[in-house]
């Protein structure tokens, strides 16, 4: 005869299974609509216009996309409104890119970023971009490069971070920069072309508000300043006597070291930038076999970088933002650091930049 205990367990397990089955929501992958990009614009009545696009995978292997748009005061309620137009439930677990319209971003994006951050099915490696122009337009257009605008944006950012001038960016880093004291976030800035999307530079934020931008050339130095980089290309404008021309230098290894000195209680920065580069292209009149000519490129490049870095920091001070994290550099070195004090003095802080350029290759490229 079976023991009472065994019988109890044998009855309990199937019961548990039947009861707990309902605790997990069923989300069969082909029976839901997977949003992969959301765009936010400002509506005329100061409401939020949200645009969500999702892919339609046809059985024959072709991919289309559809976009739904809705207006509301909050980002979450937009989804509820969009669901009223959709045959399958809209799910944000495959969200890859969030696009903010620039005027929308100027009013602050925290509400939306926070809501996404607290959504467990949205990944922290999500890309966010600021778009010049309507984000709805960007997300509803058909592009030749990729059947899905979201995947186009995602791949584009990814490859630019990996190989070009764009610094690392995602939801997690944005939040780190936002909540960290002595740091300000930044996002990639995109612009819609005729049938392309283009990275236009970097959008700079004060808190959660979009306040300024850097162009593609400036973002090269910005990326080296942030935390060094091994990618990116830079065009140098050359003069030698009457001859003029351009040379392209590829960054092999760029490193930045921050030195902080306290003078009368006010921090003073010494930023040492070191860039190892190789010459990819140069004007035909320049003979690279002569070391002096390489020196010329080096010097011009150095002057350029120096000036741009200095201008950039001046601009940051003027905007009262700190995307480089100068305040954070101080905080790392000091035990009792007061953010308020630092912020007060930020505009008067002295920042010296010294650049060290080393052209190590000029021959066969790649």
């Amino acid at each position: 005869m079976m023991k009472m205990k065994t019988i109890k367990i044998l009855l309990f397990i199937p019961m548990l299974m039947m009861i707990l089955q309902g605790c997990v929501p069923l989300e069969i992958v082909d029976e839901i609509q997977l949003i992969n990009a959301v765009g936010y614009d400002k509506d005329e009545n100061n409401e939020i216009r949200g645009t969500a696009t999702y892919p339609i995978y046809n059985p024959d292997g072709t991919i289309d996309f559809e976009a739904l748009s809705g207006v509301s005061h909050t980002s979450r309620f937009i989804f509820s409104k969009l669901n009223t137009k959709s045959p399958k439930q809209l799910k944000s677990g495959q969200l890859r890119v969030v696009v903010f319209n620039d005027t929308f971003a100027q009013d602050g994006v925290l509400e939306i970023v926070n809501s996404m951050y607290r959504n467990p099915s949205v990944g922290n490696r999500l890309y966010m971009v600021v778009a010049e122009g309507s984000s709805k337009e960007i997300l509803t257009k058909k592009y030749g490069a990729s059947p899905l605008p979201a995947i186009y944006l995602q791949d584009m950012i990814e490859q630019n971070v990996e190989t070009e001038n764009l610094p690392e960016t995602n939801l997690h880093l944005f939040l780190y920069d936002y909540y960290g004291e002595g740091l300000d976030p930044f996002l990639p800035l995109v612009k819609a072309g005729k049938d392309t999307i283009q990275i236009d530079g970097i959008a700079l934020f004060r808190g959660d508000k979009y306040v300024g931008k850097l162009n593609h050339r400036e973002s090269f130095i910005f990326k080296v300043l942030i935390d060094g980089s091994r990618t990116g290309q830079y065009e140098v404008n050359l003069h030698k006597g009457k001859k003029k021309g351009y040379a392209v230098i590829r960054n092999i290894k760029g490193k930045t070291k921050y030195h902080v000195k306290k003078v009368n209680g006010v921090p003073e920065f010494q930023i040492d930038m070191k860039i190892l580069g190789e010459i990819h292209e140069y004007p035909p009149w320049l003979n690279l076999e002569i070391p002096a000519n390489i020196k010329l490129i080096e010097d011009t490049f150095k002057k350029d970088v120096d000036k741009q870095a200095r201008d950039m920091i001046k601009e940051f001070k003027k905007l009262h933002i700190d995307p480089l994290g100068l305040g954070d550099q101080v905080r790392r070195r000091e035990k009792y650091w007061n953010y308020k004090d630092f912020e007060k003095n930020y505009r008067n802080i002295k920042v010296n930049i010294s650049t060290n350029i080393d052209i190590v290759e000029s021959g066969v490229i790649e």
């Binding site: 299974m17 707990l20 089955q21 605790c23 997990v24 929501p25 069923l26 989300e27 069969i28 992958v29 082909d30 839901i32 997977l34 992969n36 892919p55 995978y57 046809n58 059985p59 024959d60 292997g61 991919i63 799910k91 677990g93 495959q94 890859r96 099915s121 990944g123 995947i151 995602q154």
Partner: protein, 507 residues
């Protein structure tokens, strides 16, 4: 000199007969035996007297009887008493006894019984077993290996013992014989290396086999199930192998082999789970390849168990974790399928199981056709008909393929069954369910024992030294030590470093 100092000659350990199924008197035995048609019992005239010769026709070698026994018995003038048979017959095994148990057992195993009177208690028993019907030693088919010995055990126990003894010609190799089974009277051999194997293990095996009360033992698999530590477990707790080289290799490590009459498979124990994934071929290939193939086998077991459950869990609950490039093929192939992923998976998994079962029951030639029909036609048709997605078809086929890599057939079957609870739990609670099912299995494995020794040994309890020949297969000069977990009484040679050097003469 002092007599008590001299060592007494040791008596041979007798066969333990636990079958306990004998008649009490010779009268009963012969009268009952006469009911059978193949029992021959007749009086034979010899020079001085009549003798009764009885034997089972099918069990004896007729030629031996006619050539080496009858002529001597009939014509010999020296045959006066039964004892004289020992000198007359050119056969070594002539016993005079009145032990009814011995008479009955030997009579039924192909011995000839000679008495002066029909119901005489004293009999001469002469060995005349018939070996003609034995299958010759053949190539191992279940555990095939490309290189290395190909001999496999057969159904004849003595021939199997020969295969082992030939490879270990030392007196330390002990074959203990126990006869069990009320009707089958199966001879069970417990084989071990006296100085190597742990006495405790030997005792465990002997005790467990002696405790068996069973009527008919047809195969060693029955033994395995009966003496297993946990009979409810789906995991085999003793390795059953048909390869003498594997048995010999493991005997040297201190394991104990159990062979049974009529079974072409030997059992090895105590085992740990890693042994079920090691093939003898690992040792015949270079250690790099051996380790690599073993690793591939471990991976394939994991793949085979988890591939379809993860498919179910991800597609039903965790769409978030699908990489973006995999979304398109997954969704577009599932677009026309009316079932939830669980049913889809169960449909294909059951199809594969059907194919496997049908293929195993059919004759070889028909089986091959079945494989092609099943694999290609049903697979393609079910995709075309929109019953399953073609990605799942690949996953299921691969996981079935992966489950075949396990060299021990019984473990391969376990792996094949193991994925069903996982699929069930994955359908119920997704990834949480898979983890839950895995926890159950892990707890079970942790508690499992093989002949009283932990089943997960080199992994838990961790035995780093033993891992040199379980998870990996290190070169032979690195694994001179016998496994810790087997508690061998002759652990290891000490001069490890010296023996690792090649003693070549430098020029």
């Amino acid at each position: 000199m002092m007599k008590w100092l001299k060592k007494k000659p040791k008596k041979q350990t007798p066969t333990v007969d636990l079958s306990n199924n004998t008649y009490r008197t010779i009268v009963e035995l012969i009268d009952h035996a006469k009911d059978s048609a193949d029992f021959i019992h007749y009086p034979q005239k010899t020079v001085f007297h009549n003798v009764f010769i009885s034997y089972y026709k099918a069990m004896i070698d007729g030629e031996l009887l006619h050539r080496d026994i009858l002529p001597y018995i009939i014509h010999s003038k020296e045959f006066k008493s039964l004892k004289d048979l020992k000198d007359i017959l050119p056969i070594e095994s002539v016993t005079i006894t009145n032990d009814i148990q011995e008479i009955q057992n030997k009579l039924l195993r192909g011995f000839i019984v000679i008495q002066f009177n029909e119901y005489d208690a004293e009999c001469a028993i002469i060995r005349a077993e018939n070996f003609a019907t034995n299958r010759p030693v053949s190539v191992s088919e279940i555990e095939f290996s490309v290189i290395g010995p190909k001999e496999a055990f057969i159904e004849n126990l003595d021939s199997n013992l020969y295969l082992i003894r030939r490879r270990l010609p030392v007196p330390q190799l002990v074959f203990k014989e126990i006869v069990i089974g009320k009707y089958s009277k199966s001879r069970i051999i417990i084989a071990y290396l006296q100085d190597v194997a742990d006495q405790e293990n030997i005792n465990t095996v002997t005790q467990r086999i002696k405790d068996i009360e069973f009527d008919v033992i047809t195969d060693s698999s029955l033994l395995e199930q009966i003496i297993s530590d946990n009979t409810k477990s789906v995991f085999p707790q003793l390795v059953s192998t048909e390869r003498p080289d594997r048995v010999v290799y493991m005997l040297n490590f201190g394991q104990i082999a159990i062979l049974s009459e009529g079974s072409p498979q030997a059992l090895l124990g105590p085992t740990s789970i890693t042994e079920y994934f090691s093939s003898p071929e690992d040792y015949y290939l270079s250690w790099v390849l051996g380790s690599l193939f073993r690793f591939i086998r471990f991976l394939s077991v994991i793949f085979s168990t988890f591939a379809t459950p993860i498919y179910v869990a991800v597609l039903t609950y965790h769409y978030q974790m699908i990489p973006k490039d995999l979304l398109a093929p997954l969704i577009s192939s599932r677009a026309n399928i009316p079932f939830p992923p669980v049913l889809e998976v169960m449909f294909l998994e059951l199809t594969i199981e059907l194919l496997r079962e049908a293929g195993a029951r059919l004759p070889t030639k028909v089986g091959q056709t079945l494989g092609i029909v099943g694999g290609i036609v049903i697979g393609q048709a079910s995709v075309a008909a929109g019953l399953t997605s073609n990605i799942l078809l690949i996953v299921v086929a691969l996981s079935a393929l992966a489950s075949f890599t396990t060299p021990v057939y019984k473990m391969a079957n376990t792996i094949r069954i193991l994925r069903f609870p996982f699929i069930f739990f994955a359908a119920l609670w997704g990834g949480v369910g898979i983890i839950l099912a895995m926890s159950f299995i892990l707890v079970h494995l942790l508690r499992l024992e093989s002949l009283g020794r932990p089943y997960l040994t080199p992994i838990f309890p961790p035995r780093i030294l033993d891992m040199t020949d379980s998870i990996f297969r290190f070169p032979f000069n690195r694994e001179l030590k016998r496994p810790n977990s087997l508690k061998t009484s002759l652990p290891s040679p000490k001069k490890v470093k010296e023996s690792r050097l090649k003693k070549d003469i430098d020029e």
